[in-house]
Each structure stands twice: as structure tokens, then as C-alpha cells.
């Protein structure tokens, strides 16, 4: 991204575009929203996560949030691994095999930590990656149990 910004022509074009749409885009550009899907991963909802746990004995749930967020409540059975600490090595210590099912979650669609984590997991070669985009927000909405 930095290389793109450093090219003067594109920078000018980008600036003009921003100027044109300043009024309508300033607010939006501030907040981040996760993409609907991420290549190489399967998106699941809250109910789907429970079904995964019921189906797979070796299902791993990874909480990609920072520890202070986790203290406010987490999905029972999930393991804490913030996205900043996520790499092939830390993932390997939590997931036995590359084919084991693993689901990542964060606070919700506005939180990008699980997005980052699934991309890292994909790059590390994990085959069964699930992404719970709704995160703790959707989990709470469904009245599912929370652990603290």
C-alpha cells in the first residue's frame, strides 16, 4: 500500500477522489467494516459455530482479541490468541494438524483482528479455516453462554 501512495500521479488522483467525495465519505472512512467473505475460509454464524463444536471433537476456537476485551466475556471453550501474536508458530502450538478445523472470532464486523488472523492462518497452510464474522456481538445477541 505504501508503494502505491508514493507514486505522485496516483497520489494526486487519490487526493482528487477523496476531495470529491469528502462530505459523504469522511465518516465512513473512519470506521472499518470486515469484508463479507475472505478467500480460503468459510464464514460461519453463531449457530454454525455451535454445530461445528458439536460435530468436531478436535474443533479449535481462537479468540483473536486482545486480553482486555476477552476479560469482558468470551465464548466458552475458546483459546486466546490475539492477531498481533498470531503466526505460523503460535498457531501450530494450538492446532495439532493443518487439517484440523479452526474457527476465529473477534468482537464483531467492526473488529478486524479475526480478519487478520484467518489470512495468517491461510498463509500458514491451514485447510479447515472457519471465520465467525459476527463475533461476540452476534454471540450475545443470540443469548448464547458467555464465560468471563
Amino acid at each position: 500500500m505504501n508503494s502505491v501512495m508514493s507514486q505522485p500521479k496516483q497520489l494526486v488522483a487519490y487526493g482528487l477522489l477523496t476531495l470529491c467525495c469528502l462530505a459523504s465519505t469522511t465518516a465512513d472512512s473512519e470506521s472499518y467494516t470486515s469484508p463479507e467473505t475472505i478467500d480460503g475460509t468459510q464464514r460461519v454464524e453463531a449457530e454454525g459455530l455451535i454445530q461445528l463444536v458439536n460435530r468436531n471433537e478436535n474443533q479449535v476456537i481462537i479468540d483473536s482479541r486482545i486480553s482486555s476485551d476477552r476479560k469482558l466475556g468470551f465464548i466458552p471453550g475458546s483459546i486466546s490468541l490475539p492477531d498481533t501474536d498470531t503466526d505460523c508458530e503460535s498457531l501450530a502450538s494450538l492446532i495439532a494438524k493443518k487439517s484440523d478445523p479452526v474457527v476465529f472470532y473477534c468482537n464483531g464486523p467492526k473488529c478486524r483482528r479475526s480478519d487478520n488472523a484467518v489470512v495468517i492462518a491461510r498463509e500458514c497452510g491451514y485447510k479447515n479455516i472457519y471465520w465467525f464474522r459476527g463475533g461476540i456481538e452476534a454471540w450475545r445477541e443470540n443469548n448464547y453462554p458467555i464465560r468471563k
Binding site: 466458552p76 443470540n142 448464547y144 464465560r147 468471563k148
Partner: protein, 501 residues
Amino acid sequence: MNAHRRFKPGLSDKISLTVIAVGVLGLILVYYTSIYYRNIAYEHYQHTLKILTGIQIEEIVNDLKSDASDLVIAIEQQPGFLQQIAENNRPALAKQLDNQFYQYFVTANILDLSKLYIVDTNFELIGVSSEGLITGASTQLICPELSQNARLRTGADRLQLISGTCDHNERPLYIHIAPLGGLNPVGYIQIAADLASSLQKIELALGMPIQIKLQNGEISYQSEDWADVPGDNNHLPVVYNLGTYNNEDSLKIYILADMTQFNQRVMSHRNWVMALATIAIAATVILILYILQSSTITPLSRIHKILDRLSQYGVTQEKETQVLFAQLLENIITLQKNRKQRFAVMILDLDNFQAVNEQLGHDAGTELLKHIGDRLSGILRDSDFVSWTGTDTPGHKLLPADTKTEYRATLARLGGDEFGMLLPTVETEHKAVSVARRIIDSLNSEYTINDQQVTLKCCIGISIYPDHGQEAHELIRMADKAMFNARQSAGKYCIYSAKTL
């Protein structure tokens, strides 16, 4: 003459009374409108307070839900707890549950626990606290309908938290059913907490005294200052009916809203409006009186006075009645001038009245006058000048009530055998002539005085305002002339005109 004269409202009195009556009606309307709108405001306020109370209750239940969720986590983390469920260790579970009644959530007054239950995944009871409510058969869950609903769920739904309110022994409870042991639950916990005690928070939230009454009439909670609040109009009672899962009328929350300030504002506004209305009424009355005074009141009141005096003077005060008759005529002219209406003046002469008076004596003369008066009554009515200006009201004081005649008149004795008559409703010569004829016919027939037959010969002179004169003395003079003319020509009546004279 008549000491007990009844109050007869004049035109100004009538108009003033009407304005005052309308004004008073308006004031009454303002008063009741203010009460009506206050009641509407009260209704809205009651409705709003009910909604507010409902929101508060929802918040309290949400707090209970959050606190109960925390309690579930705390219980789950008790050492060996999940193991005891798996082993179906009932005594150990009961002990674990009982412990909670002496720990944080109860001792810090976060939850008023009524009972704790543990069930297995088939919702069979495996643990119950001996603390809390005495429920009798300890194998039965409290509020079984809710756990029945929980049991019937399948799949991921079984992990969902169920919460609600239900009535147990006429006491509302908050019920919380949550899975234990993570995403593959080993059992469930059912928490029952007292709802009524949690509802006390409404008092603080609304800042108003409340009373919570259970269905059986038991007062579950009452604000300290509840009894101090006076049961007056300034305190609006609001009743919120709380229903639970199995009882629509679980408890009633009474709230006393202080409306003192509101009432003060309404009343001060109303008083201002009423004061302004009163001023407006008074101003209207004064204005009307002023207008009437400057147009019709003055001549009318003078006429009244003259008529009064005329009726008081006897037959001997001829000079005085002449003056009064002239004054009366003047005032009637003033009135009729405004209305542009014509009227007749008549002078009646009784030719041989003085002769009868001298031959038969004064008493006979007086009696004859009475007869004449009676006969005239058959034709003329005494006129009421006040009513005459507006609608025709009855109340002609000198003549009998059954007198049926269309002509009203004022009769005044101007001399020994001369009478003046004002006929305000006679507007044409033709009419005047016909009235004069009737009078002459009536008076010319025989009288019986002291067993003697008496006949009078009379003639009438007529003048019409404004045709024969614009001034009182002119009209009287013309009528006099006409009368003289009639007598001279041996006619019975004569209308003054240039032709006849």
C-alpha cells in the same frame, strides 16, 4: 302610589344582564375547560408514567439477567462443580447451591435469590438449594412451564439463555435458565430471584414515592414517605399492572406523581384568563351602557320618570300634568326622531263634563272619570316606553291584564275636561282616525252615575308627528286647534291639516 313596585328591568338593565350572563357563562366555560384540559394532561401523564415504569421494569429485568449470568459464571467456576454434575452428586450440588446464599451475589444485595436448581441435559432435577423459598416437594422445579419450554428446544437453541418472570405462590419471580459446561452442556441451572424486591429501584429511577402490592394485597414494598403524601388533587396516582409468564395480574405498582407545580401553572394561567375575561365583560357592559346612555337611555329614563309622576298626580294637578305631558312628548319625539317613526297626538275634549261635575258633585265627577278610564281601557293600553323601544313585553301597569287592544297610549288629564293622549304605535292618519272614532263611540254612550243617566259629548283633535310639527308644543297646539275645529264644525274628530284649517 304603589309602594311595592316590582323591579322592572329596563333596556340597559336587560342588555347589561345579558352581557354579564354571557360573560359568567364564559367564565364557567373557562373554569371547566381548564379542569377538562388538566384531566387530559393527567391522563397523558399517567400514560407516560406507565410507559416509563414499563421501561424501568424492563431495565431492572435486564439487570437481573446480567447479574444472574454473572452468578452462573461464578457457580460454574466453583471447584469440582461440573464434575459433581457429571457424577450426579446431589448432596454436593445442594451444598454448592446453598453456599451461594451466603456469598457475593446475596450478601452484596445484587440478587434476592429465591431458589437455585440444577438439572441434567434431560431437565431432570439433580440439585436444589435447601435455602430460599420453602417449596414443599423438592423434586419439583419452580415455574415448571419455563423449564418445560427449555427442555423442548433442540440443536444450538439449547444453548440459549431463557429468562422471564413467573408467579409462584402469588409472588413474582425472575427465572433464569442457562446451560452449564460450555458449548457441550452437562446440565442447566435455574435461578429464581425475587422480582418484587428488585422493583424498589423504580422509586429511585422515577424519584416518586411508590408502593408495590402483591396480588394477595400484601404490600411488598412502600416508600418511606408514602404515608406522608397528602391524598389531595396535587398528587396523581398511577397504577402499573405487572404481568408475568403465568399471571397477568402479578402485582401492582402504585406511583404518586406530584402535580403541584403543574397545577399551579394551570391555575395561574386560568386565573389570568378569567381575570382578563372579567375585565372584558366589565368593559363591554360599560361600553354598552355608555352607548345606550348617549342614544336612548336618557330620553327613556326621563319618560319613565314623567310617567311615574303622571300616575302619581291626581285630577287636581292640571297645570303640573300639562307640563309633564309636554315633557313626555318632547322625549318621545327625541326617541322617534332616531327611529324615523311617526306617531299620533290627540286632544280629547269632554264637552259637558264640567256641567256634570257641577250638577252632581265632585264625587260623581270622579266616578264618571273612572268610567271614562274604563271605557278607554277597552281601546287603549297604557304604554310601556321601555319595552316599546324593543320587544313588546307585557307589564302595562294601569290596565287589566286581559285588555285586548292593539293601541297603546299614555293618557294625561290636561284640564277640567281636556285629556291629552300619546299613541306611539299609531303611525298613520288612517289609523289615528279609526282609533278616534272608536274612542268617541265608546265615550258617547250613556253613563249611569248615582242612578242617573248621563251622556257626554266628546270630540278629538289629532296631530301626527312629524307631519304637523317637529316640536312638542307645536304638536299639542295643532291637536288643540284640530279639536277646536272639530267642536266648531260639530264634527266628532278632526285631524290637523292645512286643508281642514
